[in-house]
């Protein structure tokens, strides 16, 4: 089975925010909820680099490890999803997540934040695939339609890649060979194989 991954090629990302609005568009994500965002380091300085961030759909997801009601589950495609009916809005997952993926509709403490919302890798939730109920709670289910997440599909410079980890790693590897250099990012080899030049 495929292991679905995101990879943002920082050499290509120009912080155009297409991934962000594509996500809003596809799922009608409300104001204030950011399932995906672009992070820029060294803004305005030589070495400025941007990277598009969302839920990374971890293998051993820290959010799931800390969830007191066990609302997370991992699909056969290795996508980390959660059940909003089970979620109690405690916010532990947001403390555990290294990427800031979990989002809450309100900013109060503990049980009053509302149900957690995050990137679903465009694959909905526990409800029936492509049902209205699923759309209302989690947004559309592109994976069930045989499509990839819209953020990556619409990325202006094809910086953000989505798909089977093996395949996108291969695409990235080819780019690195063509360029003759890698992005220098920490953890790249861990995620995409020892043979990736960084």
């Amino acid at each position: 089975m495929a292991r679905m991954k995101f990879l943002c090629d920082a050499d290509r990302c120009i912080e155009c925010q297409a991934c962000v609005t594509a996500c809003k568009n596809e799922h009608e994500v409300p104001w204030g909820i950011n399932r995906r965002r672009v992070v820029t380091i060294n803004d305005g300085l030589p070495g400025e680099r941007s990277v598009s961030m969302a839920c990374m759909h971890c293998d051993d997801a820290p959010c799931a490890a800390v969830c007191p009601v066990d609302c997370f589950y991992t699909t056969a495609d290795a996508v980390v999803l959660h059940n909003k009916d089970t979620c109690i809005g405690c916010g532990y997952c947001s403390y555990a997540c290294p990427f800031g993926a979990p989002q809450f509709p309100r900013t109060a403490n503990f049980g009053t934040r509302g149900k957690m919302d995050k990137c679903t890798y465009c694959s909905g939730g526990p409800e029936a695939d492509m049902s209205h109920a699923e759309y209302v709670k989690y947004g559309s289910n592109r994976l069930a339609e045989g499509k990839l997440p819209l953020c990556a599909e619409m990325c202006s410079t094809k910086s953000l890649l989505a798909g089977d980890g093996e395949i996108i790693a291969e695409i990235y590897r080819e780019r690195v060979v063509t360029r003759g250099y890698g992005s220098g990012a920490w953890g790249w080899r861990t995620a995409y194989g020892e043979t990736v030049t960084v």
């Binding site: 120009i14 297409a18 009608e28 909003k84």
Partner: protein
């Protein structure tokens, strides 16, 4: 601070947490969120008042019911000029999903933030919902009939009392080609040349500079072709924010070619972050910087001597001028050292093919045209025009600014650059099938005044109108100073923001003094909110290009057909229908629309865009907009997957209808559609047969100069039967060559008709006036370019500076340089005085640079576009940039006690102007430089103007406009404003 802004309920809150407050977790669809958050209170309240009858309320649901049929419509993004294809999924008349358009060779499925959010435009809560007018200071809903009737009556009244020229027709780069053409035709039938659009303020100086160098005012190559370049220079272009999808081609090209990407910009832009070299220079010193490179090129003999000898005239004179710009002189003026420029120059000249990309950083200057000419000279000196990977890659701004420019939404042109001469009017009279004298009757006679001679209506037809940068001066200035019958009394604004031109305090005064103000737009724009008008102000809801069909021309001259995605929402209607309704009321619709197929529209009859395009095809010979029939354009959209990513050419296995064509039939696409010319991917390319898209520089400046030929020497396109330069083709020339016998009897009859039946005059009928296309066909058949084969001009003797020289900005930070490099002398242009020299001297005398020590420049953000009303009304975009800001260097901030994110007052050097914005402290700008984006409006000198918008149409995000701060300064050729260099002072608020 933000709490204070909550003066009204609607959308005044800026913090995400506040926006999110009160949202239930369960239903996460936008509608219920908006209701809960109060975000769209105005919009929803307004909807409640709309009668059920004519208004179709679109449900903004993004849910797609897979059990129901889905229609997929293909259109083009309505934001920048890259021309990204948009695939819209429509269910039950509602646009429910946006899918990647994988097959488009231009965007290959991708979008930027704006393109990825266009679906929202046709759900737009904040669109104008129905026609409105101001009565006693209050907006009132009216019907279309009443609106058109009252506007028409007032226009006729103004015509009676002040003349046709007193009505200013401001058009739009957001029109389709057919809409732009129709609007220009409308101006001709109304009887004025006061018709303009956004090209004035984005690339008018490019068009003037480039057309005066080698013939046509357009991007020579394409976004895709940059993949072939080995060296890419960006100067005054921030493509990563302004044209993000172009970066796909540029970055991939950079990787595969190992290309040099050099960014020259006063500001370390997001594009610079991806460059191999970034060179910072003082704003307004483009010419010294370019000459600084040329100095090294000439000094080291890196120029392409063979290319210059064959295809360029006057380079030796340039060489003399460049000698003055030694590395020391250039460093003193611009701040760039000689070694850096030498490195860039060597790469550009020797690691070819090289391309030069520029945008508004180069064009929006008092020396805009001269800047463009300097870029062109650099390209010509290094032989970098006319083949793959080279060229002047001018990235245009709006989705159809190229098309709207081509179709003459310009004070000095009829459609397709025919000019305003009698020949031009007679040509279009023939195409429109209306007697020439009809138009003479429509124009004003101008009395003698201000020491100027009187003009007959016929003479007035040939005089360029007032530029869009000066309309408000033409309202308020003494009537003697305006070179037409009377001042401007009415503004009819179709799709144009009011905050994109400098000196908004003066613009506000102009708006207040108008007798009539009509805003026809999907959104109210600054034109509806900036002023304190109480009456005679109208809003007409126009739909977007997603709600009608038509073609649009991308920056690379490719023409793409967009099909209607959904019906116009609310009571909005399309440009074609509204222009028709107005023409009817004004009494010339029958004549103007007689060549079109008329169909039932939403509120009345409207012409089909196909039939308008067919009329364009019958008349647009001068730029080759004749082969692009609606059928061919639609076939290109249908078979997008058959076009090559790099060459844009349809592959051999493509369907017969498009085989061999270049994508979108980029103009010139010569002859009739039946000739099957493939379009021209790369202009002036002698490596191809003209029937395959080849060409040469256009000899449009005479045949010789100073005893030297202006025709090409020893250079000709592949397959040419004339193996040397030659002038433009006429019937007479065909006869001399003995090629006239190739004309068919029908073609000959048409040429005779164009000549008015006069056998002698037939010889003078040229390739651009022959309505049969026969002369073009025969020339191409013999391997010749219809417009001739000439040399490009390194010296453009018809311009104020035939060879560009440095001229300091009017509001200069270096007053010590003004004596040596003064701005252009004062002059009258486009019916108005230009007193730049007087202003500059005053700036120097008063020591303005001491009081206002920071240079202010302006530019784009990726999330917003143009005046920004449309994009700031889109919540998916508005959420990303909620505050207007000024970028200021940490040193300048520290010296002023300014903290990042704090409020500051930016004060301008003219008229006590000031703006209250947030500080973004960053090294992106050097000490002494500040940057502000130009997309904001709705705050004016500290005051919130939200209440001025009709209820429910106020954009979500408002902010101060940079153009409140910007100052006087106009290019002597095109009237382009100075938008990139002024002076300011910044203080903590």
């Amino acid at each position: 601070m933000l709490v204070k802004r909550r003066t009204r309920e609607a959308a005044t809150s800026g913090r995400l947490s506040q926006m999110a407050a009160g949202v239930a977790a369960r239903p996460l669809d936008r509608r219920s969120f908006l209701r809960a958050s109060g975000l769209a209170v105005g919009g929803l309240a307004a909807i409640g008042t709309i009668g059920a009858g004519l208004t179709r309320r679109v449900e903004a649901a993004g849910f797609i019911d897979m059990s129901q049929p889905i229609e997929v419509k293909t259109n083009i993004c309505t934001h920048c000029s890259v021309g990204c294809t948009v695939k819209a999924e429509v269910q039950n008349g509602v646009w429910v999903g946006q899918e990647p358009a994988w097959h488009s060779p231009i965007n290959r499925g991708t979008h930027c933030a704006k393109g990825a959010s266009v679906r929202e435009l046709v759900h737009g809560d904040r669109r104008i919902k129905y026609p409105m007018k101001k009565v006693g200071g209050q907006w009132q809903r009216i019907t279309w009939e009443q609106a058109i009737d009252e506007i028409g009556a007032k226009m006729l009244d103004i015509r009676e009392n002040s003349g046709a020229d007193s009505v200013y027709l401001l058009g739009s780069a957001k029109f389709s080609n057919e809409g732009a053409y129709l609007f220009r035709k409308f101006a001709a039938f109304w009887g004025t040349n006061n018709v303009d659009h956004q090209a004035r303020i984005c690339h008018s100086t490019t068009v003037a500079g480039v057309a005066n160098t080698w013939g046509y005012g357009a991007q020579t190559n394409s976004y895709n072709d940059i993949r072939n370049a080995k060296t890419v220079i960006f100067m005054g272009s921030n493509a990563a924010e302004a044209h993000p999808v172009s970066m796909q081609h540029i970055l991939e090209g950079k990787e595969t070619q190992n290309a040099n990407v050099i960014v020259l910009d006063p500001r370390f832009t997001r594009t610079a972050a991806h460059a191999t070299e970034y060179i910072r220079f003082r704003p307004g010193t483009d010419i010294p910087v370019v000459y600084g490179m040329l100095w090294h090129i000439f000094e080291n003999g890196w120029e392409d001597r063979e290319y210059i000898a064959q295809r360029v005239w006057g380079m030796d004179q340039v060489r003399e001028v460049v000698k003055h710009y030694t590395p020391d002189v250039v460093e003193d003026i611009s701040g760039v050292d000689g070694e850096t420029l030498k490195r860039a120059a060597q790469q550009f000249a020797q690691e070819r093919p090289s391309t030069f990309i520029w945008c508004m950083g180069g064009t929006q200057h008092t020396v805009g045209t001269a800047n463009v000419r300097a870029y062109n000279i650099l390209l010509l000196a290094t032989g970098n025009v006319g083949h793959e990977g080279t060229g002047a890659n001018i990235f245009r701004g709006h989705c159809n600014v190229q098309g709207a420019t081509d179709f003459g939404l310009d004070v000095g042109n009829l459609p397709c650059y025919y000019g305003l001469g009698e020949g031009a009017w007679r040509h279009w009279s023939r195409v429109w099938d209306v007697p020439y004298d009809y138009f003479v009757d429509r124009f004003d006679a101008v009395p003698a005044k201000g020491g100027r001679d009187a003009r007959t209506p016929e003479q007035n037809m040939g005089i360029p109108g007032i530029t869009s940068t000066r309309w408000f001066d033409a309202v308020t200035i003494d009537a003697d100073e305006v070179d037409q019958r009377d001042n401007i009394k009415a503004m009819v604004v179709f799709g144009h923001g009011g905050n994109t031109v400098p000196r908004m305090i003066d613009a506000q005064r102009g708006m207040n003094e108008l007798d009539l103000l009509v805003v026809a737009d999907p959104h109210p724009t600054t034109f509806a909110a900036l002023h304190s008008r109480t009456d005679n102000t109208y809003l007409l809801p126009i739909c977007t290009q997603f709600e009608c069909s038509g073609s649009r021309t991308a920056s690379n001259r490719s023409i793409q057909w967009g099909e209607k995605v959904v019906e116009p929402i609310f009571e909005s209607d399309n440009d074609y229908a509204v222009i028709h309704a107005l023409s009817q009321r004004l009494g010339f619709a029958d004549e103007m629309f007689k060549n079109y197929e008329m169909v039932d529209g939403k509120f009345g009859m409207e012409p089909t865009p196909e039939s308008i395009l067919r009329e364009i095809n019958r008349g647009a010979w001068s730029v080759g907009y004749t082969g692009q029939s609606p059928e061919r354009l639609k076939a290109h959209m249908r078979y997008q997957e058959h076009f090559d990513l790099v060459t844009l050419r349809a592959k051999p296995d493509a369907p017969e209808e498009v085989q061999g064509d270049y994508y979108g039939l980029p103009w010139p696409c010569w002859g009739t559609a039946e000739l099957r010319h493939p379009g021209t991917h790369i202009l002036y390319n002698t490596n191809l047969h003209p029937m395959e898209g080849g060409g040469a520089f256009r000899p449009r400046f005479g045949l010789e100069r100073d005893g030297e030929t202006l025709l090409a020497e020893g250079s000709w396109p592949v397959g040419s039967e004339i193996e040397d330069g030659y002038p433009q083709f006429t019937y007479g020339m065909l006869k001399e060559l003995g090629w006239d016998t190739d004309l068919t009897p029908q073609e000959l009859a048409t040429i005779r008709r164009v000549a008015g039946g006069d056998e002698e005059a037939m010889d003078g009928v040229s390739w651009s006036l022959d309505l049969s296309g026969g002369i073009q066909r025969v020339a191409l058949q013999h391997g010749c370019v219809p417009y001739g084969n000439g040399k490009a001009r390194a010296v453009a003797w018809s311009l104020p500076d035939p060879i560009p020289v440095h001229r300091e900005p009017i509001y200069t930070s270096r007053p010590d340089l003004v004596a040596q490099y003064p701005t252009n002398p004062d002059r009258r242009q486009q019916r108005m005085p230009n007193i730049g020299e007087v202003v500059q001297q005053d700036v120097v005398d008063r020591g303005v640079a001491t009081e206002f020590p920071i240079i202010l420049t302006s530019g784009r953000l990726v999330e917003y576009e143009g005046g920004g009303e449309e994009t700031r009304s889109n919540p998916w975009l508005a959420e990303l940039k909620q505050d207007m800001f000024v970028e200021i260097n940490p040193a300048d901030a520290a010296a002023r006690g300014i903290v990042d994110g704090g409020w500051v007052w930016v004060t301008g050097a003219e008229g006590g102007s000031r703006a209250r914005v947030k500080a973004l402290v960053t090294e992106r700008v050097n000490p002494g430089l500040a940057f502000m984006p130009f997309h904001f409006a709705g705050w004016f000198q500290g005051a919130d103007q939200r209440g001025n918008y009709p209820e429910g149409t106020d954009p979500i995000v408002l902010g101060e406009s940079v153009n409140v701060i910007t100052t006087y300064g106009y290019d002597p050729v095109t009237g382009m404003h100075e938008g990139k260099v002024t002076l300011c002072q910044i203080a903590a608020a």
